[in-house]
């Protein structure tokens, strides 16, 4: 899922400075699970914004709403009525949600309350780690189900580099060496011979490097 985290309060308050009445819109999908932009966070952030503005002698009205999913056009109508009343919307969905709000409600500013950070999962309660770089050309079958693009600091396809020690990456003892993990897993699978083959240079054209991506499924089009 998409992992995000809330922007610093100072930044949010600065963004909201020109407005007197806003909609704070959460999302019931990924950001609810990673506890950055779900119903709970909407409540807490709304209170914080109201408190801060009241304290500053410049009160603000904050409508609260958590939409089913901000990343699909069909759910946008949930916000239609509220959007008529407000000066702007502060979205605490991922960047996709913010952009869909901006596109749908063309005449009202849509402000991002989160930083959309990466694609990953919760490793344990409160700890989220990156797993996928959405490169558009999966190699997990070659690397024991561990992604070298997302998890190696250099995205090496023929790792590990010389900086791998005790299972850790050279950039930090808090970062696991993806190639150590790949080695361990391939060993467990009895597939160490995979490592003898040179993986050729990657076709990054399928990644962001090839420009904005688009999929057209003729079979699904009406």
């Amino acid at each position: 899922m998409i992992i995000a985290e809330q922007k610093p309060m100072e930044e949010i308050l600065e963004m909201l400075a020109p407005y007197k009445k806003i909609l704070l819109a959460g999302c019931g999908a990924c950001v609810t699970v990673c506890q950055a932009g779900g119903e709970k966070e909407v409540g807490v952030l709304a209170s914080q914004i109201r408190l801060a503005r009241k304290d500053a002698g410049n009160p603000i009205e904050v409508l609260e709403m958590t939409m089913t999913r901000q990343c699909e056009p069909e759910f946008m109508e949930e916000a239609e009525d509220a959007m008529k009343e407000v000066d702007a919307v502060l979205s605490i969905a991922c960047g996709i949600g913010v952009q869909l709000m901006a596109k749908t409600f063309f005449d009202k500013p849509a402000l991002p309350g989160l930083n959309t950070t990466f694609l990953g999962f919760p490793e344990e309660h409160g700890v989220f780690t990156e797993r996928c770089a959405a490169c558009g050309n999966c190699v997990l079958h070659l690397t024991g189900g561990i992604c070298p693009i997302a998890r190696c600091s250099k995205s090496l396809l023929n790792g590990p580099c010389g900086g791998s020690q005790d299972g850790k990456c050279e950039i930090s003892p808090d970062v696991e060496c993806a190639w150590q993990l790949i080695y361990d897993r391939l060993k467990a699978l009895g597939q160490l011979e995979n490592l003898e083959n040179i993986i050729p240079p990657k076709k990054w054209i399928t990644s962001r490097d090839g420009g904005p991506r688009k999929i057209v499924r003729e079979d699904l089009r009406i």
Binding site: P8, M9, E10, L13, K40, G43, V44, A46, S47, Q48, R50, L51, A52, D55, A56
Partner: protein, 133 residues
């Protein structure tokens, strides 16, 4: 004659905070008139949303009375509550609001005296701040 100030909301764990509050009352210890006590099944039920909402709606301070570490009936509800309070304090600071407005207060069920004392400490802290500002 009841005083409206200061408004303190106390979220009290039913295993520790609530019995301590009842004990304090039975001993006739002084407590502010505007103290609003809310019973929770566990300190861990003191969600960030509840705490912020209380402040948002006019509380001068929010206190969470929970069990001492190691005594939680639900193993770590009290630890979770404390972590949430610590987190919210940092948020309050970044809002330019004094973090002392939220307090995490471990208390034993039979310790009415300590309960009343902690509430008085909070009142005094609020007073001295009022006088300063």
């Amino acid at each position: 004659m009841g005083s409206e100030k200061p408004k303190i909301v106390a979220f009290c764990c039913e295993e520790s905070g609530m019995p301590a509050y009842e004990h304090a009352k039975s001993l006739g210890l002084p407590l502010p008139d505007a103290l609003k006590v809310i019973a929770l099944p566990c300190g861990g039920k003191a969600e960030t949303g509840y705490i912020m909402k209380a402040l948002d709606e006019g509380a001068d301070a929010v206190m969470i009375f929970a069990c001492y570490e190691g005594n939680c009936k639900y193993v770590q509800g009290n630890i979770r509550a404390k972590k949430r309070v610590d987190y919210l304090k940092t948020r309050l600071e970044s809002l330019g609001i004094l973090p002392e407005k939220i307090a995490f207060c471990p208390v034993a069920p039979a310790s009415g005296a300590r309960f009343a004392e902690m509430v008085q400490e909070e009142v005094q802290a609020l007073d001295s701040r009022e006088n300063k500002s």
